[in-house]
């Protein structure tokens, strides 16, 4: 882990911590996408409604997945994941 700042240059409103890396080899984007989909499916949203959220730039998290992985990827997850 890389140290970003020393005690000396710390100010109240600066982030002074270290990088906490994700797990190597784990696809965090996929897990986030699955979490979005399953949580909304458990609220009985339809695939169409969830896909609309992924397509909408207003919803930054799902839209990031959509932009990075594409619609086919999201559709595949929507069809595959079951509550």
């Amino acid at each position: 882990m890389e140290e970003l700042h020393t005690e000396d240059d710390r100010s109240d409103f600066e982030l002074t911590h270290h990088v906490v890396s994700g797990d190597p080899g784990r696809d965090h984007i996929a897990e986030m996408a699955e979490a979005f989909i399953l949580e909304f499916k458990r609220m009985r949203w339809t695939n169409e409604s969830i896909l609309a959220m992924f397509r909408n730039p207003f919803y930054a998290g799902p839209y990031y997945v959509y932009k990075e992985r594409g619609e086919e990827y999201v559709l595949d997850l929507l069809n595959r994941l079951r509550t």
Binding site: L15, V20, D23, E31, A35
Partner: protein, 390 residues
């Protein structure tokens, strides 16, 4: 020092008092996967209990962004540093009574026997500075790090609103621990655990404001009131729990933070009653886990861990049950799916439940129905002109 049994550690441990379990133990489960950090819980608590002079910096309920946020700042990093690196759990010894196995390291109570920084210290701890109490939502929504990125210190540092980095929200109230460090720490004996429900309270007439509870509670949930010069803490909304609030007609209700939760991420119950849905989540499905169980206080607020965060970080925070909990949550059985629908479904305290094919029914203290929720909710789509999009 007496020995008490801590089921989260799977073994006996040192504690300054004899282990006397309450008749029932207050408990709650928070589903981190659903929290959006709207802070409605925080404000519900604030506007109910801590709106007076001297309580300005006092937030009995707070929601912090992990890994960087904390109230008080760095509380968990500092507690972990005090405890030092520990060997963790022997999971090979896990069974029904020891769901996570047997903890091989030291608790904060045990570490204090050899590493106490002053005489009389029962659990390793520290007193946060005023600056650390000042900003309860420090680093809210902070992934790693925009500043480092701007300074060229981190090539892949990212900024909101879009980023690749992980974070999650941690909802925190007093854990109403079975073996509270605050209670152990108090030289006045002013802190007690109610035998009827396990709620931990500070007797305001006995407290003299020594702040030993603030120092030794690893979760930093007792707080000092500079106006009254005595300490205060979350009271688990005990008038609601007792059903003595004016509007409840004698029926117990869940706490303000739990009933106000917009995302319906919280469920209150009893950890030691096999009929309680909370018991099922924690002891049967093992989908909800204690916060930093290695501290040794047997905390009674449990968390469904976030499925997207690094497992090593989560294991440090919630113990060795993380992988099973996430797997159970991602692939729930029918009973678990039913209980998940009870989260936020009613303000009444659910004592027991029945999961049927298509609905789940919650029952109150007298065994009467207090809530009925479909497991398969009907889908009602609003007309396009009313869609909540921009």
């Amino acid at each position: 020092m007496p020995k008490v049994y801590n089921w989260q550690l799977g073994r006996e441990m040192d504690y300054p008092y004899e282990g006397k379990r309450s008749k029932r133990q207050f408990a709650a489960v928070f589903n981190i996967n659903r929290c959006i950090a709207c802070q409605t819980c925080t404000m519900a608590c604030k506007s109910t209990w801590t709106y007076s002079k001297g309580q300005e910096a006092m937030w009995w309920n707070n929601v912090e962004t992990k890994p960087y946020g904390g109230y008080p700042q760095h509380w968990d990093i500092k507690a972990l540093e005090l405890l030092g690196e520990q060997p963790g759990w022997d999971t090979n010894q896990a069974d029904t009574e020891k769901p996570y196995g047997v903890y091989q390291g030291e608790t904060l109570f045990e570490a204090a026997k050899t590493r106490a920084t002053e005489s009389g210290q029962q659990a390793l701890g520290y007193l946060p500075t005023e600056k650390e109490w000042r900003s309860p939502n420090f680093y809210e929504d902070t992934a790693y790090s925009s500043i480092a990125s701007q300074q060229g210190k981190m090539a892949d540092g990212t900024v909101l609103p879009e980023h690749k980095a992980w974070f999650f929200y941690l909802q925190r109230i007093c854990n109403h621990c079975t073996y509270p460090a605050c209670l152990a720490a108090c030289p006045r004996g002013a802190i007690y655990k109610r035998p009827e429900d396990g709620v931990v309270l500070i007797d305001q007439s006995q407290c003299r404001g020594y702040r030993k509870c603030v120092e030794q509670c690893p979760y930093k949930k007792p707080m000092f009131n500079p106006e009254t010069r005595i300490s205060e803490k979350c009271i688990a909304c005990y008038p609601r729990l007792e059903g003595t609030e004016a509007l409840t007609a004698g029926e117990p209700m869940v706490t303000r933070c739990i009933s106000a939760c917009v995302g319906k991420i919280r469920l209150q119950g009893w950890i030691d009653d096999p009929e309680s849905p909370v018991y099922y989540l924690v002891r049967v499905a093992k989908v909800a886990l204690p916060l930093y169980p290695q501290f040794g206080t047997e905390p009674n607020v449990y968390y469904i861990p976030p499925r997207w965060a690094p497992r090593g970080y989560l294991r440090q925070m919630f113990g060795p049950g993380v992988d099973h909990a996430i797997d159970a949550y991602a692939h729930p059985d029918h009973e678990l799916l039913g209980i998940l629908q009870l989260f936020g479904a009613t303000q009444w305290l659910v004592y027991s439940y029945t999961v049927k094919d298509d609905e789940v029914i919650g029952y109150g203290r007298k065994g009467h129905e207090v809530v009925r929720v479909p497991i398969e909710d009907p889908v009602i789509v609003r007309p396009e002109k009313h869609l909540n999009v921009t």
